[in-house]
Symmetry: C2
Subunit: 501 residues, 2 copies
């Protein structure tokens, strides 16, 4: 991209118009010497900075445009903070930042999270940890108070040391880490503040009561803004991520098989190739699935997600999909390999393999539609049966292949060995179909745990279409990331999960 940089002080009579490629510096050959060269250097610097800023601005704009909920999240945090500051600003007895108002502000800043689940998790942890640590600290202070001036500092410091050490260590316990990590921090913080405060117990009771109420106000404002204004539910994000990944996996299986059998005739089109990379998103979404499943458990019932929705099972569906994606990765590397089976051998299995690929994809698409619409995955069974028929056909064709190849060419052994990559592709496909059954099993478990509703024939399709229309943002997002998803390295940077914080 070329940039036309117009020198700003044009009115001095000197007018420059330099057209430079992005990032390049302008080299002006001139007799005027040092001054002119310095000037040219300055101009090139200004241009480079402008280009960098424009590039950065474009990136930032894209982040917001890909998912406007992010920009809305920023505004929500601003709103919650302004609300809490206004509440304290307009109170008749305003006691400044040194007082308790700051606890409300602090609560809003640290508790407000992108998803409702995150907000609930932090709010709950903060409230419970503050109360329990406050009570324990009061008890310790009372004991220290009774035991005389000499022992007091030792009791206080000793209990602080022991409790902080034990609480910190408890964060290495996986359950604590997953559910109460933030609470442990707040527990240590509150206990230290109260224990070393030097106040007497009756003063502390007053202080505690005030602080609880301010923290309560902060949490209430946070939750209200988070839930009432365009809420982002971790459970729904997890649900959509699972559906999206299943669709991507379906696309990847089909595209990889097509790529392989098209590779000889012509290089695969860029569009098909980007579709066949979809499995990489599945490979890289473990971390976001786990964190969302963790946060989703804190969320109240909302929409189609009832109380105690089996979010953990989504993580298992994700594990089954990854198990499948490992195989798809091997398949995709076969399509990209240099040593390819001869065309005539490929043609013999092309149809049956492509059919199996398409049917594998159909099973996954049906399963994802059933998850998306939260309907019983009844029709998936038919698709699985079709897929297994295709597997048997492929196995039959494979069995029939050697005689055919032997008949086609005199140097039959050579021909058989050249066809080896084809055998590999076929057996990977068979393995993939077995793993897809694993995904279907996980989906069926999910359906029974979450009481997915039974549908009459015909209703099913309708539910699906509605579902897709409800979340246009995520579909866009999805396409955008699929477009970029060109190299392994990109996928490793996990940009597939653009909606995941």
């Amino acid at each position: 991209m070329d940039v036309a940089a117009r020198e700003p002080q044009a009115k001095c009579g000197l007018e420059w118009r330099v057209t430079v490629p992005e990032g390049a510096s302008v080299t002006v050959e001139h007799d005027a010497g040092v001054a002119a060269r310095a000037w040219a250097w300055l101009v090139s610097c200004v241009v480079a900075i402008r280009v960098a800023v424009a590039g950065f601005a474009r990136k930032v704009w894209k982040i917001g445009a890909d998912d406007p909920r992010r920009a809305v999240h920023g505004l929500k945090v601003g709103l919650a903070l302004t609300l809490v500051s206004v509440v304290y600003y307009t109170r008749p007895v305003y006691d400044g930042v040194g007082g308790n108002a700051m606890w409300a502000v602090m609560t809003v800043v640290v508790v407000f999270e992108y998803t409702v689940g995150g907000c609930m998790y932090k709010g709950f942890n903060r409230a419970v940890a503050t109360v329990s640590a406050g009570l324990i600290a009061l008890g310790v202070n009372w004991v220290a108070d009774k035991s005389g001036d000499k022992l007091e500092p030792f009791i206080l410091s000793g209990s602080l040391f022991l409790l902080a050490a034990a609480a910190t260590f408890s964060r290495f316990i996986p359950t604590v880490k997953a559910r109460f990590d933030y609470g442990v921090t707040i527990f240590i913080l509150t206990f230290s503040l109260v224990a070393v405060s030097g106040y007497r117990v009756d003063q502390l009771l007053d202080l505690a009561q005030q602080r609880m109420s301010t923290i309560g106000i902060g949490i209430v404002i946070c939750l209200a803004v988070c839930v009432l204004i365009w809420p982002v539910w971790a459970g729904q994000e997890l649900h959509l991520l699972t559906v999206r990944n299943m669709e991507k996996l379906a696309g990847a299986v089909e595209a990889c098989v097509e790529d392989y059998f098209a590779a000889g005739s012509a290089k695969p089109a860029a569009a098909a190739s980007s579709k066949s990379e979809g499995y990489k998103c599945v490979l890289n979404s473990k971390a976001s699935e786990d964190s969302q499943a963790n946060l989703a458990r804190w969320e109240p019932p909302h929409g189609r997600f009832a109380f105690r929705h089996p979010y953990a099972q989504y993580a298992k569906v994700g594990a089954a999909m990854r198990h499948c994606a490992y195989c798809v990765e091997s398949l995709s590397s076969c399509a990209r390999a240099e040593a390819q089976a001869p065309e005539h051998a490929k043609r013999l299995l092309g149809d049956v393999c492509t059919r199996l690929g398409a049917r594998c994809a159909r099973v996954l698409v049906e399963a994802s539609a059933s998850v998306a619409a939260m309907t019983d995955p009844k029709t998936v069974d038919f698709a699985v049966a079709d897929m297994n028929t295709a597997v048997h056909e492929l196995q039959g064709d494979l069995r029939a292949l050697p005689p055919v190849l032997l008949a086609l060419e005199p140097a039959a052994e050579m021909s058989l060995m050249d066809a080896m990559p084809l055998f590999t592709v076929a057996s990977l496909l068979i393995e993939i179909s077995a793993r897809i059954e694993g995904v279907v099993d996980a989906v069926e478990t999910l359906a029974s745990l979450a009481n997915f509703k039974q549908v009459e024939d015909g209703d099913d399709k309708k539910g699906q279409t509605t579902e897709t229309k409800v979340h246009p943002l995520n579909v866009q997002d999805d396409d955008a990331s699929a477009q970029e998803n060109q190299t392994m390295k990109h996928a490793e940077q996990e940009h597939c999960n653009t909606t995941v914080k």
Copy 2:
């Protein structure tokens, strides 16, 4: 396991000794009726609770015993907190928890992290964010002060809203998220506290100066305790994780091939099988590699890790290893498949495949030794050459296989088709060896970026041995996790990375 529960009130004359299996409730058939049954229920409850507590205690003990540095971390946090509280407790002018002492305590609680890198990251972010937000807030307060009483609240609230929204949104930018996430939180927090404080600018300057010094004291105490007492370096953890994963991958490649060719003769031993699962740790360590590489960049030079050590390249080595592990996963599923090639066909390729597997493993072991000892991976090239020779041998044997099989049996076509799983294993092995070359390339890039030292022949082995002895903890840890690592589900729960917080 049986537990002998002795009823505590034995002195009442009633002595019970109930032996129950873990978690089971005791059912006592008795004529005495409700009271006796209630009593039995109570006893069974006590027993169940005791068993649960004992089980939990054993788990917690294991977490600490697996890596004593975790327990030490707890003690370090306790020590840092006690130190900071003592500093403020013994100061002549002690102003209580409402004053500035709390900022030092708060800093220690939130800044102290398991790794030095984490501590530096949080300390740096906290310091810079506090200073910058404080300065901006002072400026805004000054402007608001000058613009009259009516405009003041609007300027303050408006700037709070805009800055909080912009800062929150900036967390979605990947670079900001990775390096300054905590800083953004502190920026918003400090700005809100100062902006809505209602103090005049000259009061604020005093307050700011005091607060900076307390936060500074907190950060200094944190870093001192973190670095001086048994420090845990994120860079070293990343380094060891990479070495360990490479060794596990080597073991898995070799064990999978052996399992496959041993599967017919006898079921593979449990020990071999657990070794062949090592690739799962590689598959699941992306998240910890990324986070450690992120934290390691904040660490000062230490030991063999110089300033600007190329930690990002470790993540690339990890990506190459994962790329390889996907294929090993497919290979391992071949060994576990029901449809196996006939024994006589397996025997024909058994030797050459096992040799290739062993040489693949050797390449990885040499590469990991070179990374571990931080020496130039010169000897790896020989191992790669050996591996490639084995690949050529395998390809030659494969080419010779059809005539041999044709000669062995009359129904040659059938025999060839039955041998298909064998072809799949062979081509997967060839693909694995190609991907191992990718790992070696990544290791060589790492070696050149990190200026790994050149070694004379013979020195190399010595360096290796020393290295292994330096970190007995991690080796133990490793073995322990390999033992448990039985199922896919376990590996999915990422317990392989037990040393990773």
